[in-house]
């Protein structure tokens, strides 16, 4: 029996064949250090890096490819942004729907560097009210940091409205698009996003170890690291120009090649088609699970403004046990626990139950996968009910 992979919110798997083939081919033929020398191969490798900056900039409707920064992943990118934008005495606003990629850098800044942080709760359906964010604005507020979509409950936040309120007050909006880049459209201009953080290994269909930022023109982030850039080596301090301002050392060209191939696969497949496929499967999944006695779903009443990520629990049965049973008895891969987003579970009252079971749908999931998953949960719930009767 082949494994059914429903852990795409952690990372997409498998990748498109195009990604595997291009990465292998590119690294075999162009595995040199880009931007460091003038020989042809080095220039060609550098060209791939620049082309990928352009592809991503266009994908997010940015305006300047030099402001597309490569980092290791979203966490790394968000660290670059938050540590480079906030200083002692500043106030930042975030929400309870965040991943630790936002929560922990802000916690560190609050406990060690004198930044004040407020957390806005989400509503009963999992959405953050833009007015609730605006109600926390202070004269010292510099940054609002929020995810585009939750990695736990899959709700897509009203970024454009939050951004409008931020810009009315000269506050910068940092958006964590880890779950949405490659899943639903992102337009940094229309959505009033100042800094967008993305990762390559989820819906952008690249490998792990690559991510980045898009930094809008007029927004500046201090460099909080320093090192090699390949240009102006005699300069003692780190460069202020983008992209070098926020890039340090040899880039992950294998990762960049993978993202390049992944992006081209997305464009060939069509973002709208991917979204429609995943949302159709999500509806099928949620409807199927809703009908099972003894199964609780969270923030899934209305699937408008959602992505294909959802959580559930079998009442009275620890999430980890359900996950292990899905794995061992049904060969279904999912993630259980707190999903690196403890405040979401805390607000939903799930922290005392050791979290929930998460299914994350990807473009290669099928109707049959969903039907099998629903049947598996039904069987586990029925067995648990029988056991506790």
């Amino acid at each position: 029996m082949c494994m059914i992979y429903l852990d795409n919110a952690a990372t997409s798997f498998p990748k498109p064949e195009d990604t595997y083939v291009f990465m292998d081919q590119f690294y075999r033929t162009h595995g040199v250090n880009p931007g460091r020398s003038g020989y042809d191969l080095c220039m060609e490798t550098g060209q791939l890096v620049d082309d990928t900056r352009k592809l991503l900039t266009r994908f997010f409707n940015g305006t300047d490819p030099d402001r597309l920064i490569f980092a290791y992943n979203s966490t790394d990118a968000l660290n670059l942004a938050l540590f480079g934008m906030l200083s002692a005495g500043d106030h930042a606003i975030t929400t309870t729907v965040e991943h630790n990629a936002v929560l922990r850098p802000l916690y560190h800044l609050a406990t060690h560097q004198g930044v004040e942080v407020d957390h806005v709760p989400f509503d009963a359906q999992g959405f953050v009210d833009p007015d609730a964010v605006a109600a926390r604005f202070r004269p010292t507020t510099r940054v609002v940091a929020i995810n585009h979509a939750s990695n736990v409950i899959g709700t897509v936040q009203p970024i454009e409205e939050i951004g409008r309120r931020c810009h009315d007050r000269g506050i910068r909006l940092v958006v964590d698009a880890s779950q949405t880049a490659g899943k639903i459209p992102i337009d940094v201009q229309a959505m009033n996003v100042d800094v967008l953080a993305f990762t390559g290994h989820k819906s952008l269909m690249g490998p792990t170890g690559i991510g980045g930022l898009y930094v809008q023109e007029g927004v500046d982030i201090r460099h909080t690291r320093a090192g090699g850039t390949g240009v102006r080596s005699a300069q003692k301090s780190h460069l202020d120009e983008y992209p070098w301002r926020l890039e340090y050392g040899t880039p992950n060209i294998m990762g960049i090649a993978g993202v390049n191939a992944g992006l081209q696969w997305i464009e060939k497949t069509g973002l709208a088609a991917i979204e429609a496929h995943e949302m159709r499967l999500l509806r099928q999944l949620v409807e199927g699970l809703r009908e099972i006695s003894g199964v609780s779903l969270y923030c899934q009443d209305d699937l408008s403004n959602h992505i294909g990520v959802m959580i559930f629990n079998i009442d009275g049965f620890e999430a980890g046990n359900t996950g292990t049973m899905l794995d061992v008895d049904h060969n279904i891969a999912c993630r259980t626990g707190l999903h690196c987003a403890p405040r979401v579970h805390e607000q939903l009252g799930l922290d005392k139950l050791h979290g929930a079971v998460r299914f994350g749908i990807g473009p290669f999931n099928t109707d049959e996968h969903i039907t099998t998953a629903i049947d598996a949960v039904r069987e586990i719930a029925a067995a648990h009910a029988k056991r506790t009767r």
């Binding site: 046990n321 292990t324 049973m325 794995d327 061992v328 008895d329 069987e379 586990i380 067995a383 648990h384 056991r387």
Partner: protein
């Protein structure tokens, strides 16, 4: 160190009720520990799982992964929960006299 008394015998256990001295284990101890899991009579199925866990622990010093336990004993995990309602780690390993597993099972 906490102790529990079962069928007139006293055992040193950790805060989760796992034996502090796994080497004092024998079938009588297993039967005593099973009562703490609500198991009044150990069946052949209970013993298959317990003996597998015991043998694996004595050989490797750790509990096996759940997938391995099921694959090698032929039990579905759901059946393991039927037999040991606390599950393979908190139930079966406890009865088999293993220390509380930190991951794996």
């Amino acid at each position: 160190m906490p102790t529990i008394e079962l069928n007139g015998r006293t055992y040193a256990v950790d805060e989760n009720g796992f034996l502090e001295e796994p080497l004092i284990w024998n079938d009588d101890v297993a039967a005593d520990l099973a009562t703490t899991e609500g198991i009044t009579a150990m069946t052949d199925e209970h013993w298959i799982l317990v003996r597998y866990l015991r043998d694996y622990y004595l050989k490797f010093g750790i509990a096996p992964m759940v997938r391995k336990l099921c694959k090698e004993t032929g039990f579905k995990l759901a059946r393991v929960y039927d037999l040991f309602p606390s599950g393979p780690a908190n139930g079966a390993c406890k009865v088999a006299g293993l220390p509380k597993p930190t991951g794996c099972v």
